[in-house]
Structures are given as structure tokens and as C-alpha cells.
């Protein structure tokens, strides 16, 4: 199939190039001091002498993010569906979930340091705790708004609870969860970097921590750019994957 460039592509390209051009122009003309905005060559150079190299740090952060995000999302969906199925469970769990999800994930870091030390497990659980409760609440909310036509159908058919959960509740909630999952992804990136600031020996958060100690502002800037790119790629992959998960929404 022949593809043509459509109008939204042009603003998107400009949106990527314009900040770069502005950055280069501002630093080349010394309009802004190096202290506030390092130059592009300085930022690139900051990443060249790292040991282990930058890609290893990216790999560790990405792996931690992927594991934490997938576990947190699955846990959130399972808890949400379970609470939607059982009023008793919902009454028991909802006050805790509601109160916990309002606490910023970063504020949970001291607790996780006390409970899990600087272990990898603690990092994953921090991400799970930081994103799963929002996903649970969103899932519950979606499942409280089941269309009347579907309620009538299930009443008429006498569908078993197991079939209702697996064949209906799960796909019905998945098709509406994408906005919450995307928001949770950006939260997870923030949490994993925060967890790496403390006691980690590798990862983008570790790089930020060490560069602050060595006053390497260019490296902090580099990490910020890498995180931005990582976030865009992860979001794109999530949307791409979601199209396959909720394949029926394509029509």
C-alpha cells in the first residue's frame, strides 16, 4: 500500500527539530550561560567516557522498568477485576487502595529502603505499588459501567462466573484501560529512576546521582534527554502492543 505524508506529520517533525535548533542556537551564540544550558557537544562528550558505558545504564533501567511496569499493570488489573467481582473484597480493599494511591510514589521510597534495603526486589515493588492501585481503581470504575444491553444478555444466558470474568470482564476492561496504563508508564519511569538514585550501582538514576556529586551538569542533561527518548519509545511500543491486545477496536 502506498503511503503519503499527511499534514500532522509536518508539525510533528517541526516539534522534534525546533527544540534542537533552539538549543544549538542559544548555546552557540552564548545567549544562555553553560551553567544553565550546556552545549550539544558538551552533552555528547559527557556520555562518552562512562564506565560502564551509557547503553549498559540504559539497558538496566529499561529492564527494571519493563519488569516493574508489567508486574504492576497485571497486579492492578487482577485486583481491579477481583474487587469488581466481589463486593466484600471491594469493601475490604477499596479504602486502603484509595488512601495509598494518593501518596506520591517518591514518598514511599524511605519505606521501601527500610523494608527491602537497596535490593532489586525493592525497586520492582516500588513500581508495582506506585502504579497498580491507580490501575485497580480504573478497572473497578470501568466494570461498574457495564452497558445495560450486556447485563440483560448475561442475565438471560446464565453465564458462569468464571466465563464472565475471563471472557467478559478482562477484555471489556482492557479496551478502556489504555489512557490509565499510559499514565502509569510515565509514573513508572519516574519511580524507577528515583529508586536508582538510592543505592544503585548502575542505571540512569545512578548516573544522575553521580553527576550531581561531580557537578557534571552536562551528564544530567544527557540523562534527561535519554529518559525523554526512552519515554517516547516506551509509549509508542505500548500503543502498538495495545492495538494487538484489543484487536477488535481496529474496526
Amino acid at each position: 500500500m502506498k503511503r503519503t505524508i499527511t499534514f500532522p506529520t509536518v508539525p510533528r517533525i517541526i516539534g522534534i527539530i525546533l527544540p534542537l535548533v533552539l538549543w544549538i542556537a542559544l548555546t552557540a551564540t552564548h545567549t544562555v550561560s553553560d551553567r544553565y544550558l550546556p552545549s550539544l557537544p558538551a552533552v555528547i562528550e559527557a556520555g562518552s567516557g562512562l564506565n560502564p558505558n551509557l547503553f549498559i545504564h540504559i539497558l538496566f533501567t529499561t529492564t527494571r522498568l519493563t519488569i516493574g511496569f508489567i508486574c504492576g499493570s497485571l497486579f492492578g488489573i487482577v485486583v481491579g477485576i477481583s474487587c469488581a467481582r466481589s463486593t466484600t473484597l471491594r469493601d475490604l480493599a477499596e479504602p486502603f487502595i484509595q488512601s495509598t494511591r494518593s501518596v506520591p510514589g517518591v514518598a514511599l521510597v524511605p519505606f521501601f529502603l527500610l523494608w527491602f534495603g537497596f535490593s532489586e526486589l525493592g525497586r520492582y515493588i516500588l513500581v508495582v505499588a506506585g502504579i497498580s492501585f491507580n490501575i485497580s481503581i480504573a478497572t473497578m470504575q470501568i466494570l461498574t459501567n457495564i452497558p445495560e444491553s450486556h447485563r440483560i444478555m448475561f442475565n438471560s444466558l446464565g453465564t458462569s462466573p468464571r466465563a464472565f470474568t475471563i471472557r467478559y470482564m478482562l477484555p471489556f476492561s482492557l479496551q478502556k484501560l489504555l489512557p490509565t496504563i499510559r499514565f502509569s508508564l510515565s509514573t513508572a519511569i519516574g519511580l524507577i529512576v528515583t529508586s536508582e538514585l538510592l543505592g544503585s550501582q548502575v542505571g540512569l538514576g545512578y548516573l544522575v546521582q553521580t553527576s550531581v556529586n561531580t557537578f557534571s551538569f552536562s551528564l544530567v542533561f544527557l540523562v534527561a534527554i535519554v529518559l525523554g527518548i526512552l519515554s517516547v519509545i516506551a509509549d509508542g511500543l505500548l500503543i502498538f502492543t495495545w492495538r494487538y491486545i484489543v484487536f477488535w477496536r481496529q474496526s
Binding site: E148, S149, H150, R151, I152, M153, F154, N155, S156, L157, G158, T159, S160, A163, R167, Y168, P171, V246, F247, W248, S251
Partner: protein, 200 residues
């Protein structure tokens, strides 16, 4: 089935006032123009809506209702929508005289089907499940003549063997070639009786 003195209001509009309704035949048609209360009556029979008051309300404990909105789950195939959601075995489905009507598209997922194909699967699913009372709300919209004919003959046979059926339709022309009792609603509110157009 026997209903006596049924009152029901919806959005401050009294729809039924002391309605009494006792079908004499296993197959009953209710005809009337759109918005005349036919769907509301079926929802009351199926327990989806609750009457404001009623003197006597005797309906079977299990009532199957198909309303006009499509309800197949788009992520499941036609067969899974039948055997995966209703207590209908694969054997009962594949050996049914109705299966040839859906065989060409039964393996497709519902989102890949036309509205008419989805409708056909919904109707066949409930007919094969065969609860004691089946309520169909204008079931033949969007169906081709052949499917309609096969379904009608099946409905007439199943109504004498397994289930009682109450089916709504727009006008008399839709029920001319069928058997069963025909009742009508006039279109004005509140409704207190159903007029007998054709007795059993």
C-alpha cells in the same frame, strides 16, 4: 404466565396502568408502533425493570430476553459467543437445524460480522438455550428472508416443545403467516389492556 394490575412509570410518564396480561398461547406476538411500550413490557417480564406496583406477577424464574441493541462480544467468535457464554453444548449447536444458517461465518469474530449475522447468532443462542420463557424484541430486523423463514418455523416448533415465546413486531403484516396469539398496543399512554387481534 399471569400478570394482573401492573403499574409502571418511566421518566414521570405512566406507561402501564393496571395492565392485565395473560397469554393463552405458547407463542404470543405483541404488535404496535415504535415507542408504544412493547420493549418496556418485555423488560418488565424479564426482570430488567421493576413494576411500581402489581397485584399478581407470575412469570417463569428464567426468562431470556433479546433487545434490539447488538450484544455479541466483539472479541469472541460466533461459536464462542454461543457455547462460551451460554450453557449450550457444542453438540447441541452443531446438530441443530439452525446451525447451517450461521455456519459460513460462525468461526469469525463478532466484530468482523455484519449486524444481520450478529443478530442471527444472538437469536439462535437463546433458542438453543431454551429458557422457559423467551422474549424477542423485533427480532427479524436486518435478517434476510431465508433466515427469517427458517427461524420462524423453528420458533413455531420450539414454542410447542421447550419454551414459551413472546415476540414484538411493528405491525400485523409481519405476523400474518405465523401461528400464535396476536395482541396489540395502541400507542397512547397509559396502557391498561392489550387488544386481541388474533386469538389462538
Amino acid at each position: 404466565m399471569d400478570i394482573q394490575g401492573l403499574d409502571f412509570s418511566y421518566n414521570q410518564q405512566q406507561v402501564f396502568a393496571k395492565l392485565s396480561f395473560k397469554p393463552e398461547a405458547p407463542l404470543t406476538w405483541i404488535i404496535g408502533p415504535p415507542g408504544s411500550g412493547k420493549t418496556t413490557l418485555l423488560k418488565l417480564l424479564a426482570g430488567v425493570l421493576q413494576p411500581n406496583s402489581v397485584d399478581k406477577f407470575e412469570v417463569p424464574s428464567a426468562v431470556g430476553l433479546i433487545i434490539q441493541e447488538p450484544t455479541l462480544l466483539p472479541w469472541l467468535t460466533g461459536i464462542d459467543n454461543i457455547t462460551g457464554l451460554a450453557r449450550v453444548s457444542s453438540d447441541r449447536l452443531f446438530n441443530s437445524s439452525l446451525y447451517p444458517l450461521i455456519a459460513p461465518f460462525a468461526q469469525k469474530r463478532a466484530y468482523q460480522m455484519s449486524y444481520g449475522q450478529q443478530r442471527l447468532i444472538e437469536l439462535i443462542r437463546l433458542l438453543l438455550l431454551a429458557p422457559p420463557l423467551i422474549c424477542f424484541d423485533e427480532p427479524f430486523n436486518f435478517l434476510d428472508l431465508k433466515s427469517r423463514g427458517v427461524l420462524l418455523s423453528y420458533i413455531e416448533s420450539v414454542s410447542t416443545r421447550e419454551s414459551d415465546l413472546i415476540i414484538t413486531a411493528h405491525d400485523q403484516s409481519e405476523v400474518l403467516e405465523t401461528s400464535g396469539e396476536v395482541l396489540s398496543v395502541s400507542g397512547g399512554f397509559p396502557i391498561s389492556c392489550l387488544k386481541i387481534e388474533r386469538a389462538l
